[in-house]
Each structure stands twice: as C-alpha cells, then as structure tokens.
C-alpha cells in the first residue's frame, strides 16, 4: 500500500484540537527502548495533535528514531542517563538514581513540559516517581492503580469489553474514604476513556449484601449510596469480575492485587490445559482446531494491547502504566488513552466528582 504523503497525514492548519505532549519513559521495559519509540512514533504519524517527549538515553533514542518512520516536528528528546530496572526496589533505586528516566519524565510532566506520562518500566518506581513529583487531587488521600479486565458483557458507546478494577496494588490498606475516592475516580475514568456516560460502580466484597465485608467496605457501601452522579450498584463478588456485572469494581490494593494475579493465573492455566489437550489426543486436537477461529476472535476482542495500559488515578497529572511486555501497538494505545484523559481533563472531572461525595 502506498504511504500517505506528509501533507495528507497532517492537515497543516492548527485545528480545534489543542496539542497534547505525552512524555514516554523509554527505558526499563521488557522489550527495550525501540518498541516504546516505535509505538510513540506511530502516534506522531496518526494523531496530528499528539507530540511525543522521549525521556531516556539519548544515544539509544536517536539510533532507534533515525530508522523509524516518524514526524520529527512532533518529537522532542530529553536525555536521562539512568533508569530503574524491573528487578530493582523502587524507593532505593529512585534515591540512588536522581537521573532515572521515569523520575525525570515525571518531573518534566510536573513542570508542564508534557501533560501526561507513559511508562512500561518498573511499576513501583513509576508510582513512586509520580508520588514524589505530582500532587494529589484535593479530596484524594491516596492514589490508586487501576487496570482493565476483559469481561463477558460490554459497555459504553464503543461496546468496550473491558471493566475497570481499582486499586490493584498502589494502596494496600485502603480506608472507607479511600474506597469512596477510588469509586469516584474509576467512574470518571470510565466516562472519559470508555465513553460510558453512566458507568455502574460496585464494591468487591464476600457477599452482595451491604453488611457483608470488613468494616471499611461496609462503611464505604453506606456512603457510596449517597454520592450524587454515581451509579453505585452495591457489592459484587469475585465471580462478577469476569462476568462484567459492574463497569467499575472498587477494592483495596491488597485484595485487588490478589484478584488480578488469580485472574492471570486462571488464564495461564487454561492455556496450559489447552496445550496439554492439543498434544494428548488427535480428536481433542481436531476439536481445538475447529474452535481456533472462535479463540482468535475472543483474543482480538479481549486483547489488552488495544487498551494500552493502566492509569494511576488520584494525581493532578496523568500517568498511564503500560505493561512491561508492551509492544509498539500497546504503547501507541497507551499514548492515545493518556491524550484522551488530558483532553477531557480527567483530574478536574475527578475533583468535581469528589465534591459531590
């Protein structure tokens, strides 16, 4: 297929959409800087209003960028000599490495050089860099790491199959106040990113009754029922997560992280069993082959790369944490999600929601 000319890709006149600069921490991901750069470079071709700020080793960035199709008018590079590796302890690493790419990127966002941060590196370091650099939104005491999970039912004007779960690890011992804030933040995010004007919100507990669960969950349940503008549907159980009973599921970081890992474990086990069945009997192999089209379709619909990454909610700036295994496509989508959150002023939306609570 013929490549479009630059003029065809980029209407020159300044349109109504204001430019958004996304800082990409290009270091520390599983696939190395090139995948991050490739994904972000694609944004500069696809979306005329998104500019990419690459933070990391300049030599590596320049080397990769020189052979990747991009629009240099929408690219800027900021050199950072260090980075936090996946195996490092976040606090110690950030204390030692003042020039770590994720910290420098967060500082650039805080200084207004970019409006959002995307990183596929060490999650803890990313969250901590933001905590040390960004401010919490008034009314938010602790930030939440949200993630999306493919579900049976869809939502929003784009039939989004992903529901949002938060917190999945940023705040291990959340209070009732925190859970209420998480609910408001998750709903605001779902409204903007999933284009779901009235998302259903639920608390994760060990029973659907309002009295079930530890005191903080019971208290949060009671308070959430009175939050204006929030469609709180009460408690849900673990079984409701993959069903998609609620568009936003709220829990503390400890429970959320255990759930997330369990869901990942179930997925891996199912895949392992399918491989076992494939090898074990010819008849089973034939059955799996016949179902392969359906499996592929499910894989397409539930492909996490289309979502790009998980937001850290609660800060006055946007941080999208892309999966460590993210390839270019996931990074492109993480950048789009970040730009969408900026364009729709997610922080303000959360703040307004919290005022109503």
């Amino acid at each position: 297929m013929a490549k479009k000319s630059k003029a065809a890709q980029t209407p020159p006149a300044a349109g109504p959409v204001r430019p958004v600069t996304i800082a990409f921490d290009v270091m520390g991901s599983d696939h190395g800087p090139e995948e991050i750069i490739r994904g972000a470079a694609q944004l500069t071709l696809d979306t005329p209003h998104i500019h990419a700020l690459f933070v990391g080793d300049r030599g590596l960035i320049d080397h990769a960028l020189s052979s990747i199709r991009h629009n240099a008018e929408r690219v800027v590079v900021h050199h950072a000599a260090q980075f936090v590796a996946m195996h490092e302890k976040p606090a110690a690493a950030l204390d030692d490495k003042r020039d770590a790419s994720v910290l420098v990127a967060a500082q650039l966002v805080a200084a207004g050089e970019a409006e959002a941060l995307v990183s596929a590196g060490n999650t803890g370091a990313g969250v901590l860099a933001c905590a040390r650099t960004f401010k919490l939104i008034p009314g938010v005491k602790r930030a939440a790491l949200a993630t999306v999970y493919p579900t049976q039912s869809t939502r929003g004007e784009k039939d989004d199959p992903f529901s949002l779960i938060l917190d999945v690890g940023a705040t291990v011992d959340a209070t009732a106040d925190d859970l209420v804030a998480f609910a408001v933040m998750g709903a605001a995010y779902s409204r903007i990113i999933s284009r779901n004007p009235n998302p259903s919100v639920a608390l994760l507990s060990n029973g659907t009754e309002a009295q079930k669960g530890p005191p903080r969950v019971v208290e949060a349940n009671a308070r959430l029922q009175h939050v204006k503008g929030l469609r709180f549907i009460g408690n849900v159980e673990g079984v409701d997560i993959p069903k998609g009973t609620a568009d936003v599921i709220v829990c503390d970081g400890f429970v959320g992280n255990v759930c997330l890992k369990m869901l990942e474990g179930v997925h891996e086990t199912v895949m392992a069993l399918a491989k076992y069945a494939y090898k074990e009997k010819l008849l089973w192999r034939a059955g799996l082959a016949m179902l392969s089209g359906g499996f592929e379709r499910i894989k397409e619909v539930t492909d996490w790369e289309q979502y790009g990454g998980a937001p850290i909610l609660g800060f006055d700036r946007i941080f999208i944490k892309a999966h460590g295994r993210s390839k270019a496509r996931a990074i492109t989508n993480a950048g789009k999600v970040a730009a969408k959150a900026v364009a729709n002023d997610l922080a303000r939306s959360i703040q307004e929601g919290l005022k109503a609570s």
């Binding site: 000319s5 630059k6 003029a7 065809a8 960028l65 020189s66 690219v75 800027v76 900021h78």
Partner: protein, 344 residues
Amino acid sequence: MSLVDRIDPVPPKRIYRWDLDKTYLQTDFDSLRQLVRTALQKAGEKKAVPGAAALIRELKARGDSRLCIVSGSPTQMRAVLSEKLKLDGVEFDELVLKDNVSNLLRGRFKALRGQVGYKLPVLLESRARAPVDSEEVLFGDDAEADAFIYSLYADMVARRVNEPVVYRVLEASEVYPDDITRIMRQWEKIGVSDPVRRIFINLDRLTPPAFFGKYGPRVVPIFNYFQAALVLMADGHLTATQVVKVAVEMIQTAGYNLLTLSNSFQDLMRRGLPMAQVAQALTEALSGPQALLNSVRPVPDILAAFTKRIAALGAIPAPPPVRDVDYLSLIDDARPRDKKGKKR
C-alpha cells in the same frame, strides 16, 4: 534588473536547484485520480510546501544566485507552473520540464517514468553553463530518486566517480543508450570542481532519515523548510533574520508553532548538524529591536523553547561521518518507485 545586468548579468555565485512536485509543491499523484486532478489544477489551486516559497525568496534576495528548476512534470504544464511560481513571488532562471509527449511518440516508454535518464543530463547541461567556482545547493524529495541522482551528479562533477561506474549505474537504471551518450558528453565538457554543498531531501513520505545515511552528510533529509533554512544559515547562505522570515511564513500560513519549530531545531541537533552557533545567532536576531516574531509570540518564550531543546540533549552530538557513496549498491534507489525491490 538594471540595463547593465541585462547586457552582462552578474555570474551567479550560488545555484539553487529545485525539483517541483513534492519538493516545492504539495502534490499527490500516487493514484490515477490524483494524477488527473494534479494535471487539471489551476495555478491558484496548487499549494506550495510550507516555507518553500519564503526560503527561495530569501535565497534569491542576495542577488548573486540562480534558481534552476528541473521537474518531471510535463512540458504542457509550463504555463500553469510558471503562473504558480509568479503568484508565490518566486523568480526562476531556468524551468526545465519533461517532454513526455515526445517520449511517447518515440516509443520510449521507460523514459516516461525514468528519473535518472531525464534529470542527470539536464543537471549536467545546466552545470556546463555555470561558472566553475559557483556553489550549488539542491532540493528534492523522498518520493523518487532525488537523493541518488543529485549525489551522483555532485560526485560526477567532482570526479569522485569514474566512467565505468557511471556507465554501469546508467545501464542498471535502464537509461536509453542515446541518453547515456548525451550524459557522458556533457560530463566531459564540465570543468572539475566540487560545487554541491548540500542536498536537501524533503521528507514528503516521512522516510526515516537513516535511509539517507548511505549518501553521507551532504544529503540532509528535512521534515520542513525551517530545517533547511537553519542548515543554510549554518552554511552561510542565509542570515538569522532571513531564517525568521521563513519561520513566520510557516506560522502564518501553515499552522506551525513554537513547539513544532523548536522540535524541528532539536531534530537537526540530534542528527549532528552544527546548530549551536545558529542558535546563538538566532537569539541575537530575535532579541534585537526588529524582532520579527514579536507579532506571533513574546520573544522570551521563543528563546526559552529553543534553549530548552538544546539543554535537554546534554552533550552536543558528533557530526555524521563523511563517506564515499557506493552507487552500484544503491541502484535500487534509482528505479521508479513501483519497480523498487526494497521497501522503505
């Protein structure tokens, strides 16, 4: 032009050679429909690449240069192209267009799409008429074979390539034997000199810059004409004020802004082009009482944006190494796009 100039024009010190489609003009002819639309466009409907007209006007402003245009557009378009250039305030000295009707009537079908057999002899003929000591800067694009043809032309004039290599290159490029003879004759007539200082390639198709690394640092891929103006300022062809005039046209007519211009500046720095002194001179020009960009944005913002782009890089990168061009290995670049074996 004064009477004296008309009788005995000042010999040009600098020659600027331009391609038209996708270099000066924003042209889409990747499909038959686009080709027909381009052919039927009136002068007023044609759009120049942002900054191109301003750059040419500034390059010509010194009065000691010549603008020579060689385009693959058919000769039937001379009137409309001349009118378009006139509308843009661009005064050319040569405008050579391709006689495709003649090619068609003579059954020379390869010549219809071929670039090497058309442009190379035209460039050599024009060079034969130029003073030996005149410098040249060439402008092309990444859609066809401009980097290849311009580099070969430069190295032929400088005698950095020998006859057997040129023969093999021309044969491999499917140039007709009579055109090969014409090229070799023209080449013989040209005095030895090394006039080509820069070859700018407008990245219309956003080809990654590293693709042109094999042509050496003389070839500078550019994302816009502000970048060309900056490099030409570093090379002594333009003043800081003239560069600012190019930027102003791009801001006023094509939606460029401080962000895109400062990013373009940093892109050149990252590719090792000598921008540090340019930045200093631009700072002085912008700080002066005649600051042109004042009407667009406060000067301190502009200076801060450019200073940040420099500081963000840490150490200044080394310039790219000079290297001989191996034309025989690059022969694929010389073929029409639909025949290229490699994908960019």
